[in-house]
Structures are given as structure tokens and as C-alpha cells.
Point group: C2
Chain length 252, copies 2
């Protein structure tokens, strides 16, 4: 009897060219699909909630895959798959889901977090996971730019060349900065995101903060829908796909 | 005018064959000495408080080196050296010290910490820094073994073959387990340590805990001064050289 398996995935994206399978490049998708084949004996595509860019990390990526001949209890796929994967990719949980569940199309919201480190040397244990810069504006200053993102907007300004999305309109439920263990963290929750959108938002807010620009400046570049007005794209190192929510009953 | 520089160093030891320079192997010493040469133009040995083994991390290694022609303000060596080092080694602080300061011989105590993770998947962000095992005894159980280590003992049981130390007598000031962010942490402070001593102690305590052996068992193998009685050596991944103390006025 076939079944659909949902997995919760964390990865250190440092040495991967993002989620999506590409010829001759190490990708997270390739590593997970190889492990699924080793465990099940079946070549099955593994579908994620969304692709993450090269070097971006995930703490709560969600994927699904099908198995034709179930051989492993659904909650044991995490253990079984981890045995065949590099240490920088770990399955944290696994379970069986209805066949109408789809990791990408059933997702209601995605949450990303971006970690900034102000003015001190990033020790080697967090250096892979934060963007450290000598001039990081305060959380209060950055928060004023973040507030302008709330609601429904056309995010063309913060999109990447070649993004295939039909619409660039996205809804942002939450966007704010908070201090955490010596870092400043940007938390953004939206229905979905364009390619590199979070890093482009982050880079633009950093630029504006350093220039002491008013919050209106952020609002103006957003409304202009002009990619040339966005600031630098912040490095992927500080970015985490933090959580994907499917429905009210979703525990992970 | 020449001067002696003291540096505080953190490193992720994963991809290094320990501190000490070796032919054809990546070592932390080699990376730091190469950076010193790039910054000062001088080939100077960099002396550490002690060598760390292959794969062992440091949060608070202390070193010194001499410069004949001072060209960088002492507190700026951290910035200058970091520019020439891989991201998994970072100089956190630097300062000038008297010429009678010696990173190894002036050190009064060394503190190591060993991180254990009980019964859950280590996510990829801490997986390089903890020993995760399905059967980790409780901190209370482990604490009873640790207590027997306090004071002055001959640690031959927990020494490695080939250790060149003249004496195997060491004084332990503190040895205990405490819970920290989902981990159990072993903290041990001593005047000095033999090669692999902390990992051998850790492995033996884990073995005893799993066998539910009484605290006297630990005391007996310690007093036997017989290497064949020690348990397995715990993996280097979980071990950190955490702090080196020089004198009461020492801030780092």
C-alpha cells in the first residue's frame, strides 16, 4: 500500500547550492532524494514547501514524498533517512499524511528569520549563521522600515531578475526585529516569498538604517515597483527558513 | 621595539588535526602562524596554553607570540589576523603583555566543557558540537562519578599511550554536570590535563552510567592507575577548551 510521508527538515545551507536539484552542484534536494532511494528502494521526487537559495539555511523546511511499498513506520523515516544523509542535513520529524497534502500548495504561511550581529567578532560557532557588520542599525530603527511591509503589496522592487512568478503580489502577516542572544533578528511571515526577496528587503533596510533614512523611504521604494531602487542583497549566511504552517492543527 | 602579544582564540576544530603543527595536515597553529606572518612580515611561533586534539573545539584558547617590529596597535591584532584566517578560527581579543607572560607556563587553570545530547536528533547547527547518544545517563547520575575526580590524583588510567608528560598527577578544582539548552554539559577545571584525558573521563563516566555502576567504580579505576580499565574515549566533537585562567586580574 502506498502512502505520502511528510518530513520536517533542518539544514546548514553553507555548502549547498540551495534546495533545488541542479546538474553537477550539491543541492539539498539531491541529498534527500538519494537517502529516500536508499531507504525505500524507490526513486521518488521530494517536494519542498519552497526552494531556498544557495547558502540559505533551514530550521523548519517541510517536504513530502510518496512511497509505493511502505516498509518503514511513518514516524521512523526521520531515523532511517538520517543514516544516509550528511550531518548538515537532518530530518527532525516524519509522519504519514493524506494524499491531498502537498508541501508547497498546502502551505498557508512561511516564516523566515535573518540574524544580524552588531560590531563584534562572530565566533566560529555562529559565524556561518549570522551577518556580522560593524554598522548595524538598532532594532528600533529597523522596525520602522519593517512595519511598512505589513499587508498586501506588489514586491517587484525586491524581486530577482529571472523570477518566474506570475504575480509579485504577496501578503505579509508579520515583520519585525527583536534582540536575541546578542543578535538582532528580523522575523517575517508571509503567504509566500519571491526569490531572494527576504535578503533584498534585509539589505535595503540595512542601507536605509545606515543612511538614517525615514520610514517613508522604504514605503516609496516598495510602491515604486522598480528593482533598481532596492539596496544590496544581504548575504545568504544570515537567513533561515524558520517555519512553514499548514493549518491550525499543524504541530510542526 | 619588540613586544609580546596575547590573543584569545575560538575555533571550530572539526576540520583540523588539532592545535599542534604537523607536516601535511591542517592544524590551527599553522593557520594562526600563517596569519601572523601575513600581518607582521615575521615568521614567529605562536604558543598556546596547551594543544587541543584533532577535532576538539576551543571557545577560549589563549596564545602568545612576539613581534620584533611592532606595526599594529596591540588591540588591533584581532581584526588584522582575522582578515587572513579561515572563518572557523577567530581571534576574539588581543593585547600586549609583559615579556615574562607565557601562554602555557603562566596558565593557572584550564577549563574544558563536554556537551552531551540526549535522545533526540541533533539539528545541523549543533551537530558538530555535541555528542548525541540515545542512552545518556542523567546529570544527577553522572555527577556522582564526577565528584570522585576532585582533588589531586594520578590520572594514568585516563591517559593516552605515548603521552610524554613526566608526571600524571593533576589537580582538579571543579568537575560537575549541568543542564544547558537541552544538553547535559560536563564542566571540568584543572591545573592541567593529560592527552585525551577529558574524553577518556567522559567515555568512562558514560559507560558506568549506562551500566548503573556505583560511584565507587569510578574511584576504583582512577586509583588503579591502569589504562586498560578506562572506558571508550568519547568523540572529540563534543569537547571545548572553554577557558584558561592566568591570574586574578585576568579578564579573559
Amino acid at each position: 500500500m502506498g502512502e505520502r510521508i511528510k518530513i520536517l527538515l533542518a539544514y546548514d545551507g553553507t555548502r549547498y547550492c540551495g534546495w533545488q536539484r541542479q546538474p553537477d552542484q550539491p543541492t539539498v534536494q539531491e541529498a534527500v532524494e538519494a537517502a529516500v532511494e536508499k531507504v525505500t528502494g524507490e526513486k521518488q521526487p521530494v517536494i519542498a514547501s519552497g526552494r531556498t537559495d544557495s547558502g540559505v539555511h533551514a530550521r523548519g523546511q517541510v517536504c513530502h514524498f510518496d512511497v509505493e511499498r511502505a516498509s518503514v513506520p511513518p514516524d521512523k523515516y526521520s531515523l532511517a533517512l538520517n543514516r544516509y544523509m550528511p550531518r548538515d542535513i537532518r530530518i527532525l520529524e516524519s509522519c504519514s499524511v493524506d494524499e491531498d497534502f502537498h508541501a508547497r500548495f498546502s502551505a498557508l504561511t512561511r516564516e523566515y528569520r535573518y540574524y544580524l550581529l552588531q560590531g563584534r567578532v562572530a565566533d566560529p560557532f555562529i559565524g556561518r549563521y549570522v551577518y556580522s557588520h560593524s554598522r548595524i542599525p538598532s532594532a528600533e530603527v529597523l522596525d520602522r522600515y519593517a512595519e511598512t511591509l505589513l499587508g498586501t503589496h506588489d514586491f517587484t522592487t525586491f524581486s530577482a531578475a529571472g523570477d518566474p512568478s506570475e504575480s509579485r503580489i504577496r501578503h505579509i502577516y508579520a515583520a519585525s526585529f527583536f534582540p536575541w542572544r546578542g543578535c538582532i533578528v528580523f522575523r517575517i511571515v508571509g503567504n509566500a516569498f519571491l526569490w531572494r526577496m527576504v535578503r533584498s528587503l534585509m539589505g535595503t533596510m540595512l542601507d536605509f538604517g545606515q543612511q538614517e533614512a525615514p520610514a517613508e523611504a522604504m514605503k516609496e521604494v516598495l510602491e515604486a515597483r522598480d528593482r533598481s531602487l532596492a539596496g544590496a542583497t544581504a548575504p545568504s549566511r544570515g537567513l533561515f527558513l524558520y517555519k512553514v504552517v499548514y493549518d491550525a492543527g499543524n504541530v510542526w
